[in-house]
Symmetry: C3
Subunit: 350 residues, 3 copies
Amino acid sequence: MNAPQQWVFIWEKGYQEFDTVVSSVTSKVKGVVVTNTTELGVKIWDVADYIIPAQEENAVFVMTNLILTQNQTQGHCPELPETSFCSKEQPCTPGYVGKQSNGVQTGKCVPYNSTVKTCEIFAWCPVENDTHVPDPAFLNGAENFTVLIKNNIWYPKFQVSKRNILSNISSSYLKTCQYDKVNHPFCPIFRLGNIVKEAGESFSDMAVQGGVMGIQINWNCDLDRKLTYCVPKYSFRRLDNREIDHNVSPGYNFRFAKYYKDSNGVESRTLMKVYGIRFDILVFGTAGKFDIIPTMINIGSGAALFGVATVLCDMIVFHFFKKRHYYREKKYKYVEDYDELVGSECGSNP
Amino acid sequence: MNAPQQWVFIWEKGYQEFDTVVSSVTSKVKGVVVTNTTELGVKIWDVADYIIPAQEENAVFVMTNLILTQNQTQGHCPELPETSFCSKEQPCTPGYVGKQSNGVQTGKCVPYNSTVKTCEIFAWCPVENDTHVPDPAFLNGAENFTVLIKNNIWYPKFQVSKRNILSNISSSYLKTCQYDKVNHPFCPIFRLGNIVKEAGESFSDMAVQGGVMGIQINWNCDLDRKLTYCVPKYSFRRLDNREIDHNVSPGYNFRFAKYYKDSNGVESRTLMKVYGIRFDILVFGTAGKFDIIPTMINIGSGAALFGVATVLCDMIVFHFFKKRHYYREKKYKYVEDYDELVGSECGSNP
Amino acid sequence: MNAPQQWVFIWEKGYQEFDTVVSSVTSKVKGVVVTNTTELGVKIWDVADYIIPAQEENAVFVMTNLILTQNQTQGHCPELPETSFCSKEQPCTPGYVGKQSNGVQTGKCVPYNSTVKTCEIFAWCPVENDTHVPDPAFLNGAENFTVLIKNNIWYPKFQVSKRNILSNISSSYLKTCQYDKVNHPFCPIFRLGNIVKEAGESFSDMAVQGGVMGIQINWNCDLDRKLTYCVPKYSFRRLDNREIDHNVSPGYNFRFAKYYKDSNGVESRTLMKVYGIRFDILVFGTAGKFDIIPTMINIGSGAALFGVATVLCDMIVFHFFKKRHYYREKKYKYVEDYDELVGSECGSNP
């Protein structure tokens, strides 16, 4: 075998067949935080309050900031000033729905406050005012929450499955450990603040507008070695766009509502514009295992390459070098004499 | 190099190594719609009302139609006539639960209305009657909603990441643009009606029973070129089955409930059978980059093929052609005379 | 072509190009169950009650067990004894939040019951007591529920799409069938109990603490054959870890809350710690189709391998066998005489 061929074989594992990973993830967040605001007073937030929705497949969303609009009911109220100022000269259009509007215009122009008039709309009233986002973030304390990630992977072609909770890890270790790149690389419990820090970001900044973090689990496995060497490798990366110049709705947020009914059956809701960090657990990797097919293809192809290389080599020597006549004579004399496979100036040559 | 070999090289990028995409998606829908029915009166629906659940990973569900069953409480009531008619001859079985039933039979046979008697069941009462689906769809106006899709992809092998919001797109463009295959192929904001239309479907039809739409994002990238050429390509496809002959529960719907408690602590719920369109964002693609390994394998293999081709060619000429004796003589005389690599009738020949 | 080459060709489909599957899944569960406990009385549970969240992309969660903590309000109450015993010698720390705690310590030490004192916390009170998990599971009857799975797959490279509801299956069959490995391998309706049983597990055991089940759909397709031969193959596997020694929070559970407001606007919630089985639908597979590129690469590489093989063969015969001189003489005499391609002792030889 020649040199590049050996490289394919040893380094790039040319003797292996490959398969990509099939994965299943579950996660569990722990932690409580207390907030104290003039609007809401002292409040406690636990898992059932800040994880929305309660469970997802390959992700977990942790609320870090919040704009609350309580006691909304369907009715008529003035739109926010930003998009729908109005006056006698600039009247409102009944039935019109703007791109950013919260409801349908009735056509009336009503006072928003003592100085400004805006179009009246039919909507959930009062309308949410999200111009001011709390900074520092309402639930900045989420930095200290921890998330336990359980990941089960499978390589269908080789019928091999593994878990990120390795079998040599004890139950007592799992109760106290916290992931650390150097000291605890296989502990499946991550502090949220550390995840963000590892990705080179600031949690307090990210908590204000929200964002998306990738928890990447790499399962590259060489199945020709013992299965215990096949272990997960964690890394962290921010996935949403921070560039302000070419971005819309920066960060990550969404709206949802809790619905209530009073004793008369009238429905009201609390609208929540929820900012937070979505942790996407991205699992990828390939497993390789010895297989006769790629081995043979690589040997065959390498052997042929070997022939090509010698021919090319001869051509260069015969045609471009100064002493080419000497080489040519030497070479073909050789052939006439022995008529066998022997080594020439550049690699073995016929 | 021979012709097919060149094709592998140039067309099929035989000199590249490949990797498949790792993806993360977020989405945000905008729009409000007003409905006016005798049952509910005038009602407004905004994002918090029609997006269920509030956030998903690679999909977004938009409610387009609705069967509402208000003020359900647990108790006894007659089952729907479809599956459980009863009479003195056909009595009910206490404890029986049919495949389509909404509760457990008590054994009694009670009047459903003035003409029909059905089995009494223990269930959330009154039982939902979904025989009549509103047509046109309740929230047919969802056609005008827009969805902003943010997609971050990564090719782990090459350590390359990209976003579907390209870096040469300005913030002001993003505020007003709307995706259009021809004029705005890189605008990440899609009008729901247009998505459905592009897939060759009718929104009003689809809105009635619901359905599943695929928003496909293709990220095939040639990383030997500048990264700015690596751009997303959007396409749209309906994913659910419309063939009526071999289908169960056509369209797409699911049930969920809002729970209320009155002042006495008695729980009631509003059951919603929600029809709608689930937009699945399917991200796929491969990136290729020059790599010495596949290059050498292809050259080697091609060179060998080259040899095979000439041998085959000779065999055909020598054995099947009329003038074969002439060719054979010519060829081997040639060889005897010069004993060198020269071209023969079909390709270069030893 | 030599023997290993033929094997690559026939068995490993060396003449095909491959693509991996792009998939979209929807699911629908059916069934009701009645429970009778002293705490809750007789209660009925239907789809809207036990599927949480109402819809997911590639998974469906069915609640099987439940710890209910009703009428929680924010306030002060004693922590659970497990983690926070206290006394005059072991006082509580105001503001302290333990890893397992449900709230923030106020610093007071209050009686938990007549014998034990624990730290007072500010939390949603009363605190959930999850030390005793109902066994047998609360909704053990979920065993008889059925789930309909609709799967649409696509091979982008070949522009081929298929559904798991095959086109030769009639609508009436789909209304009554139930998946069975032997008799109904293409029925897309699965009884939950059977899924768990097929994976070699006990439903009643799994229902208590919850778990994660994989419903694997294998779409390996040979697109050189008729598309009707491209059919799904179902298999089932438990995905969560049952080994007690190295496990944290065994099974599968999560917490969520239903929020209520009384007539004075005071918010209360019902906290639910929900145990259940999450069915992850894992779709994978590759499609192969004839393509000239891999065909040629394999032929080329095989041909070269052929050459390597004969050289190796000669080397063995000439150098290691006893009668090597005889063979060598024979061989080269032959060559001198005829100077043509003829068969030698081991394979065709020049």
